[in-house]
Symmetry: C2
DNA sequence: ATATGTATTCCAATATAATGGAATTAATAC
DNA sequence: GTATTAATTCCATTATATTGGAATACATAT
């Protein structure tokens, strides 16, 4: 929960294979396309011999896969299956599908389930709105917390000090190059916490407004948010409606958490 | 591609942390519910000190997560995001959604996309049929290849010898305890390959019939199958129709592979 | 309370994994 | 063709990760 000792950056320290392995996986995820072992070595700043060794091991495990004849590799299907297993056990992603569908249908706007991924914000699930003007972001992409409405809610269970040590300094620099004052951010976090809601004109573009409402587990920690991303005029016109609908859905989703998941049994396979 | 040296089972050999780590993940996947470090140690037959150490490392990485106050852990959301990344790069799973929906709608039966996961068969995606009598198996569960219709197609690019060394001996023992003759299995594989199709009354129960058609990548290796699982009377009544529809969809899906994936760009996030 | 069994933490020993660097191979320019 | 650069493989070294086993904490029964 507290900060790492600074001396952890000790130079010339060998890295653990396991950590390096997941650095490789994260690198490929961010890159979103296959890479050669050599590129990976450069990308994660690891010795080449290490990168080659680990890539081969991961290939053998099915965690990485060859993608072409040029030696490029990418994330393997084993990861997909492990991810599926996570989903079946984690109530939230299953339960929220219906809520996202409902939100997208009634508002005709894009609805999202957002969560933290490490110290970043990310869209875990997404249902695009029915209106011709559609807005979407890539599911799974890691985005600085301060850039997003949901970010205010997702860190709101932490103390001010925890938040400041949790969010990388660089993430307060907004896409337009300006810097968000951290005290202002903290104030917004507290307001969001108190309101159980946050919305603002998107920082990333100049035509959308983002609504976000918290999904709680165990009543106090915000494990996810439900969001609506709407064109600004729409958002203004339907503000109260969107706000209330979103909060209502998020509350229902929260109340579902913790209940024993229902699982259907295996009967047949083709 | 060839068999491992037998001496690889060398006793008293330390295991690599990376391999052990993925043993832990696979163990949790199969178990489908959280476990304590101690249970994990027993489950994967590893020294307890090792299991504890690796569990802690994986927790720190977000690859495992605490699930309760009793020290139980389960697969973490990081795996979900890695799995998502795999999906966005892998054309097949994206493309097939529409085909599964079409199959499930026109036949009213359960439609599946099936693949190999290591030396096992597994359901990667599934769309349940509209009819009141619904059949489904758990997505992601690992099942012996010989138990399934798709299994015949998924190994059909290998030689007989390769198949026999690829499929674990024990997997020829069927759920009812009887043993499937491996030569008979090979004959079915060859027939399936020649026909570009395989179907049989399910081995796992006595009321369904399974249809399976191959999805090819690069024209020769069957990377997946499309399947229909239907009640036997339905299957008999609509046999030609189901067969042709399934083969048609699988062909279309095959033809889509290899095309450059279209990806939408990031515009906004809530 | 004590006993019994199980789960977890601690620690020292050594087998070995990560590493740097050299050698080799492939790709590209000239 | 040769020169130049990048990518990959090979190998010896040593820091350290895995391990067995002991110690401790926890749980449950008696």
């Amino acid at each position: 929960m507290s900060a790492e000792p600074v001396s952890d950056i000790a130079i010339n320290r060998r890295m653990r294979g396991l950590d390096r392995a997941f650095e490789i996986l994260d690198f490929l995820r961010q890159r979103r396309k296959p890479a050669r072992p050599n590129e990976i070595a450069i990308g994660i700043d690891a010795p080449k011999s290490t990168a080659y060794e680990l890539v081969n091991l991961l290939l053998k495990l099915g965690v990485l896969e060859h993608t072409d004849e040029d030696g490029r590799v990418f994330l393997g299907r084993k990861l997909y299956f492990l991810g599926l297993a996570w989903q079946t056990q984690f109530d939230l992603t299953r339960e929220c599908k219906a809520h996202l569908a409902y939100l997208a249908e009634t508002t005709r706007e894009t609805a999202q389930l957002c969560m933290l991924d490490g110290c970043k914000y990310t869209v875990a699930m997404l249902k695009e709105g029915a209106r011709p003007f559609r807005i979407s972001s890539d599911v799974g992409e890691a985005i600085p917390i301060p850039w997003t409405a949901s970010g205010r809610l997702l860190v709101s269970h932490m103390s001010d000090a925890e938040i400041l040590s949790f969010v990388p300094k660089a993430d307060f620099i907004l896409p337009d190059g300006s810097t968000l004052d951290s005290q202002e951010f903290l104030a917004q976090v507290r307001a969001a916490r108190a309101d159980g809601f946050f919305s603002f004109d998107s920082i990333a573009d100049n035509f959308t407004h983002c609504f976000s409402a918290p999904v709680y587990q165990d009543a106090d920690v915000c494990v996810a948010t439900l969001c609506l991303v709407a064109p600004r005029d729409d958002a203004a016109k339907n503000y109260e409606n969107y706000r209330n609908t979103l909060i209502q859905e998020a509350r229902e989703l929260s109340s579902k958490l913790g209940e024993t998941p229902v699982r259907f049994s295996t009967v047949a396979y083709g």
